[in-house]
Amino acid sequence: MLDDIASLSLQAAISGLSTRQQVTANNIANVETPGFTADTVSFESSLAEAVGAGDPTSAAISVTPTGDQPGVNGNNVNLDSEVVTATKTGLQEQLLTGALTSTYGLISTVLKG
C-alpha cells in the first residue's frame, strides 16, 4: 500500500535531489581547488523511463563531470550556476517532500476512516 508508483517515484526523485545537493556542496567546497573538475547529477530522464516501465526503483542516479571549460588553474567550477542549483534543489526537494506527505495523508485518511 505504501509502495505504489506515486510514492516510489517521489522517493526516487528525493534521493536523486539529495545526491545533487551533495555534489553541489562538493563543487562549491572545491571552488578554488586547482585542477578540480566539477560534477553534475542526472536522474530525471532515467526516472521518467523507469516510471514509464512501471518500476521507479530501477531509476539510476549518475554523477558525471560537467565538461565546462577550466580556468587558468585547471578548475572548472561555475560558482553562479552551483549556487542556483543549490537553491533550486532545495525548493524542488520541499515540493517533493510536501507531495509525499500528501500521498501518505491520503492513506492516513483511509486508515482512520
Partner: protein, 135 residues
C-alpha cells in the same frame, strides 16, 4: 546522512584557514629582519579534493600543507635601522599586498558560498525529516 553539510563544512574550514593565513601574511608585511637571518615568509594554503565514495560523490576539500615563500625577501637599504648590517641593508618580506588582498576577497566569497550551501542543505534535510508530519 547530512553529508552535504559535512562537505560544505570542509570548504568552510579550508577557506577559514586561507583567511587566517592571509591575515598573518598581511600582519607581517612590514617585518624587518637582519640580513644574517631569514625574512618573514608568506604562507600559502595547499588543498586537494577529498576522494569520492563508491557512488561518485566527492566529500569536499582538505588542506594538505602550508608552503612558505622564499626566505630571501627583499634587501632594502636603510642604514638607520638598528638591524641594518655593516653595509646598511635589512631584509623585508617579499609580500605582494595586492595579491594578498585579491586572495582575501576570493577566500571570503568562497567561505560565504559554502555557508550559503549549509543553509540550503539544512532546508532540504529539514523538509525530508518533515515527511509525513501532521498526518
Amino acid at each position: 546522512m547530512f553529508d552535504a553539510i559535512d562537505t560544505s563544512g570542509t570548504g568552510m574550514t579550508a577557506y577559514r584557514t586561507w583567511l587566517d593565513v592571509i591575515a598573518n601574511n598581511i600582519a607581517n608585511v612590514n617585518d624587518v629582519s637582519p640580513t644574517s637571518g631569514p625574512a618573514f615568509q608568506a604562507q600559502y594554503v595547499q588543498v586537494q579534493p577529498i576522494a569520492a565514495g563508491p557512488d561518485g560523490v566527492g566529500h569536499g576539500v582538505t588542506e594538505t600543507g602550508l608552503p612558505a615563500s622564499s626566505a630571501k625577501g627583499i634587501l632594502e637599504y636603510d642604514p638607520n635601522d638598528p638591524l641594518a648590517d655593516a653595509k646598511g641593508y635589512v631584509r623585508r618580506p617579499d609580500i605582494d599586498m595586492s595579491q594578498q588582498m585579491g586572495n582575501l576577497i576570493m577566500a571570503q566569497r568562497a567561505f560565504e558560498a559554502n555557508a550559503n550551501v549549509v543553509e540550503r542543505s539544512t532546508d532540504i534535510y529539514k523538509s525530508a525529516i518533515d515527511i509525513g508530519k501532521g498526518i
